[in-house]
């Protein structure tokens, strides 16, 4: 079986671009706090979602709807409606993280396929099988803290499909378990669907030196001519003890292109590309690249050389936790 390429779409235009570029599957979200990329100007209203699903289905592609924030107490109805509307729009699956919402979806929408979001941070076979047995979850998106041998070990024991991130932004913290953003800004991935939100970012350039702040905290200071990474908290430059630098993670982005054959051997079903906040031209290029790679793998041709460096944050790439030395 050819590995499934799962692509991000922040807008209807990006969805169309991804499908045309060869995406097997596109994931997207509604334009509210129910999804973990709740950024200004992004995402789908209900009629855009219906049209997007129809566009994808007409071309043999699937659409997954991410409803992967944690419903706010007192306002669960917003999230329940999102699940119902995803089903009504014809979505092929919903991607969920919250226990209460998984319970709700499995009881009220049993025919709607459920995937477990990376936000649930299910990092071993026992908890994956627990989610499968309890809520009928059919696929689990694995957290970005696992190495390839660990992924292989999980797949040897897991009763359901797994999907792993291969390209784009890299969370160094276990996803869905991080409150760094709300500590500095009041807005968090879990509650608001945003991390290091643009509304709290300030850039200030003085004689070529660019300061990037988040919630008033200085995250990056770069000299003239140096790249300016977005001030994502965990990739900032800090000091501790006698040391200073990128103490948590360098401003790199994930590229596991070269690990695709190993990930296939490890039993992974689907390869996920991060970046619902990126442009349609980015999405199209990345999709084309990865589709060519999995097609080559399937046809036992050599893997095409990567061309994606310019598109990544800070222009540098890492294979992240997939190589155990990352830790």
């Amino acid at each position: 079986m050819v590995m499934e390429i799962v692509c991000p779409a922040g807008t209807p235009a990006a969805l169309r671009a991804a499908v045309k570029a060869g995406a097997h599957t596109v994931y997207c979200g509604f334009n509210d706090e129910t999804n973990a990329r709740n950024f200004p100007g992004l995402n789908f209203n209900r009629s855009e979602m219906r049209d997007g699903v129809a566009f994808a289905h007409a071309r043999g592609a699937k659409v997954l709807v991410a409803i992967n924030t944690f419903p706010r107490a007192g306002d669960e109805a917003i999230w329940h409606r999102a699940v119902g509307d995803a089903e009504a729009c014809g979505a092929d699956a919903v991607i969920l993280a919250d226990l209460g919402l998984l319970d709700h979806a499995s009881r009220n929408h049993p025919g709607l396929r459920r995937h477990l979001s990376v936000q649930a941070a299910a990092a071993n076979a026992d908890v994956i099988n627990f989610y499968a047995g309890t809520f009928g979850v059919r696929r689990v998106v694995l957290p970005r803290v696992l190495s390839v041998p660990e992924i292989a070990a999980i797949n040897a024991e897991a009763e359901v499909e797994t999907e792993v991130f291969v390209f784009g932004g890299l969370c160094v913290m276990a996803e869905g378990r991080c409150s760094l953003s709300s500590y500095a800004t009041g807005l968090s991935p879990n509650m608001n669907g945003v991390c290091s939100p643009a509304s709290h970012v300030e850039y200030n350039e003085d004689q070529g030196v660019l300061d990037a702040r988040l919630g008033g905290y200085l995250i990056h200071r770069v000299d003239r001519g140096e790249p300016a990474p977005y001030p994502t908290l965990c990739k900032g430059c800090f000091s501790a003890g006698e040391k200073a630098g990128h103490l948590f993670e360098d401003p790199v982005s994930l590229n596991a292109e070269r690990l695709i054959p190993q990930l296939q051997k490890a039993g992974v079903t689907a390869l996920k590309i991060e970046g619902r906040q990126r442009s349609k031209s980015y999405v199209a290029q990345v999709v084309r690249n990865f589709r060519a790679a999995v097609d080559a793998l399937e046809a036992r041709r050599p893997m095409p050389e990567g061309m994606l460096a310019r598109l990544s944050e800070g222009q540098a790439m890492t294979t992240g936790a997939y190589k155990k030395t990352w830790r």
């Binding site: 944690f70 419903p71 706010r72 107490a73 007192g74 669960e76 993280a97 919250d98 226990l99 209460g100 919402l101 319970d103 709700h104 649930a120 941070a121 299910a122 990092a123 071993n124 076979a125 026992d126 908890v127 099988n129 627990f130 957290p143 803290v145 696992l146 160094v172 913290m173 276990a174 869905g176 378990r177 991080c178 409150s179 760094l180 709300s182 500590y183 500095a184 009041g186 968090s188 879990n190 509650m191 919630g215 905290y217 200085l218 995250i219 200071r221 900032g236 430059c237 800090f238 000091s239 501790a240 003890g241 200073a244 103490l247 948590f248 993670e249 936790a321 155990k324 990352w326 830790r327």
Partner: protein, 300 residues
């Protein structure tokens, strides 16, 4: 209102560890959560002391629960987590993996690192046997009020993070090891040098976070001096105090006095600051615009 001592987040020498729990037998707290939350590698240094500490605490009239790890990945960690269920003590789950090993219907507690954000989740947890939930520290007061109300109907006791550096993130990567240029597998237990975490500052020198092995904490110490009445009327039944290396029993006493109204609002924070010089306090997650905010007037 009761006081619960949360699981120790830091790595202390075994003697210090034992001394800490001995002292707690003489402190005015109701409940103690014991065991390793952050890193399974630390456990072998003090694991054999846990049964004795538990029995001393129980003898002193404290309720005891045993925490699970916050992030269960390795085979060894899965085995450790499965064994928790067989210890004969209430398990506090801090990774859902622990729930997979509990017999359906057996009672358990839910720790602050499980995502309990809404009524649906707490209802589902109650149906699985949850009897006590410490809410995630990032929840605002509105959510706490709604959840405490739902919990009362479900027979669940609600705790809120009351004091100590806030657990903000957990990772597969060890930052202490990375800082010392070591791999996680060869960390040489660098985190032991920082019994309350290692301060992380911005490049301008502004305190921001604290590093604790695979865990990232806030620089500031949560202190809910100014929200105790609010939490009490919301129906919150216990405050969670997170262990620190210095003056912890004294700290427990101060919180006890504040709950019993022998200390008034503001006095608790002043007292905490007076014997923790250089420490910053925060209560922004509950009532502020962001977690780092502090609603009191005093701060160093």
């Amino acid at each position: 209102m009761e006081l619960t001592v949360g699981s120790n987040q830091f790595f202390w020498p075994a003697e210090t560890w034992s001394g800490f729990y001995d002292d707690l037998t003489r402190s005015p707290v109701d409940r103690v959560v014991i065991g390793e939350l952050v890193c399974s590698k630390r456990l072998s240094f003090y694991q054999d002391r846990i049964p004795e500490a538990i029995s001393k605490l129980v003898e002193a009239g404290k309720e005891v629960a045993l925490t699970s790890l916050a992030l269960v990945t390795l085979k060894r960690e899965r085995k450790l987590t499965a064994e928790l269920a067989e210890m004969g003590v209430t398990v506090e789950i801090n990774d859902l993996t622990a729930l997979a090993y509990l017999l359906e219907g057996s009672d358990f507690s839910v720790g602050p690192l499980v995502n309990v954000y809404n009524e649906g989740t707490i209802t589902w947890l109650a149906s699985r046997g949850a009897r006590r939930v410490c809410l995630p520290p990032e929840l605002p007061i509105g959510s706490v009020e709604t959840l405490a109300k739902a919990a009362t109907d479900l027979g669940i006791a609600i705790e809120v993070w009351g004091h100590g550096r806030l657990p903000l993130a957990i990772s597969g990567r060890c930052y202490h090891a990375r800082l010392h240029g070591r791999s996680k597998d060869n960390c040489q237990f660098a985190c032991e040098e920082d019994p309350d975490g290692l301060d992380v500052l911005t490049v301008e020198g502004r305190p921001f976070m604290a590093m604790n092995g695979v865990q990232t904490l806030s620089d500031s110490y949560a202190c809910i001096d100014h929200q105790i009445e609010l939490l009490r009327s919301a129906g919150v039944s216990a405050l969670r105090l997170s262990p620190q290396s210095k003056g912890f029993v004294q700290l427990c006493t101060l919180y006890r006095q504040r709950i019993d109204r022998t200390l008034s609002e503001g006095e608790l924070a002043n007292a905490v600051l007076s014997f923790n010089p250089g420490v910053h306090l925060s209560d922004g997650f509950l009532t502020g615009a962001c977690g780092a905010e502090w609603s009191g007037t005093s701060n160093s």
